[in-house]
Amino acid sequence: MAEKMEWLHHSIEAWLDSESKVRLLVFFRQNPGLIDTLQGLAQRLAVPPGRMERDVERVVELGLVKEREISGKKVYYFERMRAKDLEALMQAALDLRREAVPA
């Protein structure tokens, strides 16, 4: 149990360590068919591209979002195979938050 909790904390720290990254992941989860450039994503989320670049790189490193080059442009899309992992982790993060903040 302790090991599982440790893994959970570690994953939450790695995956959901900033509000902007959480927002990006939730956006991809809600829109799994989205395929767009960094500029396109930034426009859709109303965030300056420069502010979003690092978050996009991180979610690609974590394997939640895929990157590929099409006609010289990098495009990003959600890794549908990881949807369940992401959902489970988000639920766990919400549960932990509820435990931390007593009603």
């Binding site: 809600q30 829109n31 799994p32 068919g33 989205l34 395929i35 767009d36 450039t37 396109g40 859709r44 590929r68 099409i70 006609s71 442009k73 495009v75």
Partner: protein, 263 residues
């Protein structure tokens, strides 16, 4: 867009139901498999719903489909489809449906193995039907109108050779008016069928009319018919009765009808 000889099959001639209540009977049972249909209309006339309905009919007929959106986010389309009773998320999970949201440039550009993003998605669900919503976004294509037209001719041929039946929506900016321009780059000439959706001002209210302008699959109903958008999708109903000037958007009852009201 590259075409591989292994992808080439015989041109299809079977009819495919559009799933749009009342439309199939106007066109002899459905569109010809592999043909392209342009659904052009003013904002809010039901173009996107028609596209969703066409793919829903495909799912019921075990003909998987791909919906490409340039404007709406998938979450908006899931919501709108689900209110009509089409569980698009569940169909995606079952591998019968694919919703793609991107830009025209990304959609048509070649990725790995000479396949475009569109090709990959069509292949992954073994699609028989495709909706592109909306081709108005192609007007912002970086290569200009001549290159765009060339690309679209290639795309239409490519889809036809793969036996994929396509609905393309296109926005007409005029709400009502005596003249209507479908597209500045002749999209209506590149497709097999053209369906027009229009607002008609009649008896003090805005009604919707549907008319088939062009249909390659044989004779077709040429009447302006009443279009109703309901919680179960679009219904094409009876022709406008004793009404003239529908194509101008400002329809009026025929003279005899008006006289009978006066007497």
């Amino acid at each position: 867009m590259s075409i591989r000889t292994s992808q080439l099959g015989p041109l299809e001639s079977a009819r495919m139901s559009t799933g749009i209540h009342g439309m199939d009977t106007m066109i002899g049972g459905g569109v010809l498999a592999g043909d392209s249909t342009l659904v052009a209309g003013s904002p809010g006339t039901g173009k996107t719903t028609m596209g969703l309905q066409f793919l829903a009919a495909g799912v019921r007929a075990k003909e998987p489909g791909v919906f490409v959106s340039f404007e709406y986010l998938p979450q908006q389309i899931y919501r709108d489809a689900e209110t009509k009773g089409w569980p698009v998320r569940a169909w995606e999970e079952a591998g019968l449906y694919r919703l793609v949201c991107t830009s025209p440039e990304v959609l048509l550009s070649e990725g790995g193995e000479g396949l475009s993003i569109l090709d990959e998605n069509l292949r992954e669900v073994q699609a028989k039907r495709l909706v592109i919503d909306s081709t108005s976004q192609f007007e912002m294509y970086e290569g200009g109108p001549a290159k765009l037209r060339h690309e679209l001719v290639g795309l239409m041929n490519h889809l036809r050779l793969q036996g994929i039946t396509t609905f393309l929506t296109h926005e007409i900016t005029q709400i009502v008016g005596p003249t209507v321009t479908v597209s500045s780059w002749g999209l209506e000439f590149l497709v097999d069928n053209v369906v027009m959706l229009r607002y008609v001002e009649l008896d003090g209210e805005m009604q919707k009319a549907m008319n088939i302008l062009k249909f390659r699959g044989g004779d077709h109903d040429r009447k302006f018919r009443v279009l109703k958008t309901t919680s179960r999708g679009i219904f094409i109903e009876a022709p406008f009765d004793r009404v003239e000037n529908i194509s101008t958007g400002s329809a009026r009852r025929e003279m005899a009808e008006r006289l009978s009201e006066l007497v």
